[in-house]
Amino acid sequence: MMHCTMDDLGALRAGEASVWARQHITTCAACQSELEALYQRVAQLRALPALGPARDRWPAVRAVVRAERARRRRRWSAWGGSLAAAAALAGLLLVQPSGGKGGALHAELSQAKQQSATLEDSLQRYDLDGRVLSGHAAARLADLEDRISVIDGNLARSDSRAPNAELVKLWQERVGLMRELVNARATRARYVGL
């Protein structure tokens, strides 16, 4: 007498069995027993105790995360510094306007770039190892860094050879956000005693 294979039993379990297997299982005690054993094995597998790691792997994960963050910060700072330097150079290449609206814009632009560069330097002093005090603090820092990145992207796309109100506004926004970032990091550094 032909019996169900393990494929048939699996298909019966999944409700995908052939007509023959579905009919056979109703009359064959041996196959019914095999199917029951299959269900029991699966139930026993599900009931196996959870195994835990012998070693704590969090320190290794944390070390990689901190190293990656430090690399990102360095890249980001280098990018910010390059942007400021490039903008300053472009400013030098400009024909100095003698006065009027163009002169005022140029003066504002130079001032914003200078402030931005100074704040970049300040930021380096509070470059901590990734520790944060709370989710709120972490979210605030991440938000500020994201917003500065957006502005940097806009600055990179804009034409710095032609000072205009929009460019000045972008640089001034950057200075404002950088100031907030420096303050946030300084506050955090004071809390953790650095």
Binding site: T5, M6, D7, L9, G10, E34, A37, L38, R41, V42, Q44, L45, R46, L48, A50, L51, G52, P53, A54, R55, R57, W58, A60, V61, R62, V64, V65, E68, R69, G130, R131, V132, S134, G135, A138, A139, L141, A142
Partner: protein
């Protein structure tokens, strides 16, 4: 193993913002389920520990992309399963030992005290992965096939052959 761990939304939000304490809390909450998933499929404990580490590095790097669809464990489990299967694929020689051993071959007779856990551990890593993902984690054959880069029929036949072998080992153990 059923994981019904509820993770507060605020913890996920903090982790997404990069809060290291929140990330560690997630690690502590899921380290055992992730390790267990990998360890059940892989032979060597140190490989499972590596998968645990790789999984959480991926979690940390990608947590911002988690939008809260479904349980967080489902999201982490998928990463862990992918990392485990990648490791099995990378080490195919170790993973694809013959399923149907010849009678009398060393390692075939496993003693009278064999239980299901021991029988399961004697399967190849590929078979263990299919059995564990299908029977315990509830993956469909389609999902397993997709994750393993194989066909649905491969997954089905691996499952059937693995059960046939476990049944045989248990039977021989009982009659030894």
């Amino acid at each position: 193993m059923t994981v019904a761990l509820a993770v507060p939304d605020v913890l996920i939000t903090r982790a997404q913002a990069g809060d290291e304490a929140a990330l560690e809390a997630l690690f502590r909450a899921f380290e055992t389920p992730v390790y267990n998933l990998a360890r059940r499929m892989l032979r060597r404990p140190e490989d499972a520990e590596d998968v645990l580490q790789e999984t959480f590095l991926e979690v940390v790097r990608s947590i911002k992309q988690y939008r809260g669809e479904g349980h967080l464990w489902g999201w982490i489990r998928r990463i862990a399963a992918t990392k485990t299967l990648m490791r099995i694929r990378r080490d195919q020689v170790r993973a694809t030992e013959p399923l149907d051993e010849e009678p009398g071959k060393p390692g075939m007779h496993v003693g009278s005290n064999i239980d299901l856990e021991r029988a399961f551990e004697r399967l190849s890593e590929t078979s263990r992965a299919v059995v564990w993902l299908h029977d315990v984690e509830g993956y469909t054959h389609e999902e397993i096939a997709e994750q393993m880069g194989k066909s649905v029929s491969f997954s089905k036949s691996q499952l059937a052959r693995a059960h046939a072998r476990m049944r045989r080992m248990l039977d021989e153990g009982a009659h030894a």
